[in-house]
Amino acid sequence: MENRPLEYDYTIAKMFMLTTIVLGIVGMLIGVILAFQLAFPGLNLILGDSLAEYTNFSRLRPLHTDAVIFGFTLSGVFATWYYVGQRVLKVSMAESKLLMTLGKLHFWLYIVVVAAAVFSLFAGVTTSKEYAEFEWPIDVGVVVVWVLFGMSMFGLIGIRREKSLYISVWYYIATFLGIAMLYLFNNMEIPTMFATSPAGESGIGAWYHSVSMYAGTNDALVQWWYGHNAVAFGFTVPIVGMIYYFLPKESGQAIYSYKLSLLSFWGLMFVYLWAGGHHLLYSTVPDWVQTMASIFSIVLILPSWGSAINMLLTMKGEWQQVASSPLIKFMILASTFYMFSTLEGPIQAIKSVNAIAHFTDWIVGHVHDGVLGWVGFMIMASLYHMAPRVFKREIYSKAIMTAQFWIQTLGVVLYFTSMWIAGITQGMMWRAHDEFGNLAYSFIDTVTVLHPYYAIRGIGGLLYLVGFLMFAYNIYKTMSSRPIEERELQSASPMGA
């Protein structure tokens, strides 16, 4: 092997960094709007009566979830893959014309699909299934993008110099396989345009409309087998892959324990899929499926915590780094929130607890512990680490980064505390009977009490968004106005003012 360091090609990583930031802003802005719409319903008319169809809560909600999942998070996954992959496999994208072409195609088709998805959700074209709202033409696009991602990933692996796969790569491979399997099965649908009427008419109605292959309870089972694991393979697996690279790299520390990495990974793979039924507790799916899901959810705590603990232990004896580097702070707090949400989930998966928690804001709180505190923080930290290396410039401002860290932490805390209280309060009010044995509250009574918590959540979300805008600004300034770094950077990222 030659001694000269490899020249990695970050062209595609950069493109996906851009979409991570842009779609992050869009998705979170919509999230903030949603949050305030629940506190102040007048905001459903934020652009006036005539546009209310497109700006009301229910039309915007799927846009939020899909923008942050398939926009922000997936872009982050792609961006980090096109960065991390080359480095831990010790091979440059530039070495293969084919891979570069695939990568670019991957990016541009992704953009096309995102645009189509945004357009269709605004128009109300949706199949209603959470996180799988897209109609079949977009599904086809998603599959093509995914196949391109797979080809470019396995292509790179195929020409690697580093024989054995680094931990992060395990997680990227699992992400690819998991989503591929889940997405295909949950989107089995028959386009209605193939129908022919007894009178011989065909091609009737909207060409993009389809009907699910599964009905009722079966549909629910497949959907939440998907939904739970879309969380697993979208919000957990690839993000764990990121922290396994970026934390040790940024801190210069070696991973605490290979064995722990190994057991956590295979444990997670095996256990995760069984737990989907915890979204269907007390529904009409069979009791034994529900119980199995509850059991596996509890077992799932350990493989999840294994990775987080491995990361915390990697920082053993390195407190001064945590104290001085906002970049490392982000990752340590991300591990903490990961632990929090992977304990919260199993607790909510206990049948009796779920009886209160299901359908309430406590679930929404759980979601955002994970996505804001863990996913959001890790993606931002990853991009902060990558920026000085792909742009060959030091990070514009450490002060902005530090301020951003505290603002966003406060935002997350406000979000989850308010939703925790709101959820438990509402869940208990729904169950309450009065001294006469009547329901103690009509439904609306359980809505109006939530107003202050909805307002607090809105403020928390706004703080998080402000922090994200600071992040975007910091990255922008890094690209445009810092001096060029001459040397190849090793661990700690250089930061300006």
């Binding site: 991973i255 064995k259 057991l263 009791d287 915590w305 004896g317 009010m429």
Partner: protein
């Protein structure tokens, strides 16, 4: 560094207190409901465990040193220790797996448990408890109970003051409004207000005995206002002539013949709840979900507020 522990404890205490303030002070509160208790216990366990476990590792960052044997491999400069598993974690993993298998095969009564069975038991307990209680609920207490039913079930249509929200449903503060009476006279009525099939004829079956002819438009107008005014004002003669045969001279109705038009009676309300009705204002749904005592109570309540 004790600061961390104190901070953690304060945070946990704060969450618990806030939750208690929000839940504990609401009607029903914790209610001795085991599900409520478990949810709160779970919530407290969640913050407590996370906060203290994370603090444990933070202390290691502060005090310990990274040691161990490095593996030969390194990826992009990232090394890997060959440390063994953290004991606590390994033990817990094993324990949860063993527990899971035990629960699945032995602990979980595969054949004995069903969530519907659990529901049936809970419902039976609830009903038995209140059946006993219901015997003593009469008079003012019954009205009070009725109010509670009304606020949970009826206010979405009739409004919190039972005023019908600008004519969107019947105003239950008084018996009838003129438009409804007029509509019934013109179209008849057949909603089992007496509990069984007993229709009122439409205008083509209503003779004014004073004139010996079918009731006229002008008479309908006048008598409608008479009824809506609580059986007073102009029109008493028409009412006597055309309506009293069935509804009684004072409009208080006759058992098995026609309902009371002067005031609400619990029985009338119960009949409306059992059968629903459709009038000029809209459709009143029937309410199968309420039990007999609840219907009686809300009947007493409406009778009371419309006095």
């Amino acid at each position: 560094m004790n600061k961390l522990y104190i901070g953690g404890a304060i945070f946990i205490a704060l969450m618990v207190v806030l939750t208690y303030l929000s839940v504990g002070t609401s009607k029903g509160g914790f209610n001795g409901d085991i599900v409520n208790m478990l949810a709160i216990a779970g919530a407290i366990a969640l913050v407590t465990i996370t906060v203290f476990v994370v603090i444990k590792y933070v202390r290691q960052m502060q005090q310990d040193n990274a040691t161990g044997e490095l593996a030969n491999e390194s990826w992009d400069g990232i090394g890997e220790y060959k440390n063994s598993l953290p004991t606590g974690w390994a033990v817990m993993f094993l324990l949860t797996m063993v527990w899971g298998m035990w629960y699945w095969t032995i602990g979980y009564p595969v054949n004995a448990y069903s969530q519907i069975g659990e529901y049936n038991e809970d419902t039976a307990v609830h009903n038995a408890k209140f059946e006993v209680k219901y015997k003593d609920i009469t008079g003012d207490r019954l009205v009070e109970m009725g109010e509670s039913v009304f606020l949970a079930e009826c206010k979405v249509c009739h409004g919190i003051n039972a005023d019908g929200i600008d004519g969107k449903a019947a105003n239950l503060n008084h018996r009838l409004d003129a438009a409804s009476v007029k509509h019934v006279i013109e179209n008849g009525s057949n909603y089992q207000l007496l509990g069984s099939e007993m229709p009122m004829p439409d205008r083509n079956g209503l003779f004014n005995n004073n004139t010996g002819a079918l009731i006229t438009d002008a008479e309908i107008e006048v008598v409608s206002h008479f009824v809506a005014n609580g059986m007073s004002g102009e029109g008493a003669d028409i009412f006597i002539g055309a309506c009293s045969a069935c509804h009684g001279e004072d409009g208080k109705g006759m058992e098995y013949v026609a309902p009371n038009l002067a005031s609400f009676t619990p029985a009338l309300v119960v009949n409306v709840l059992n059968h629903g009705k459709k009038g000029i204002i809209g459709v009143m749904p029937k309410f199968d979900r309420l039990n007999d005592k609840q219907k009686e109570a809300v009947g007493a309540y409406i009778t009371d507020i419309s006095k």
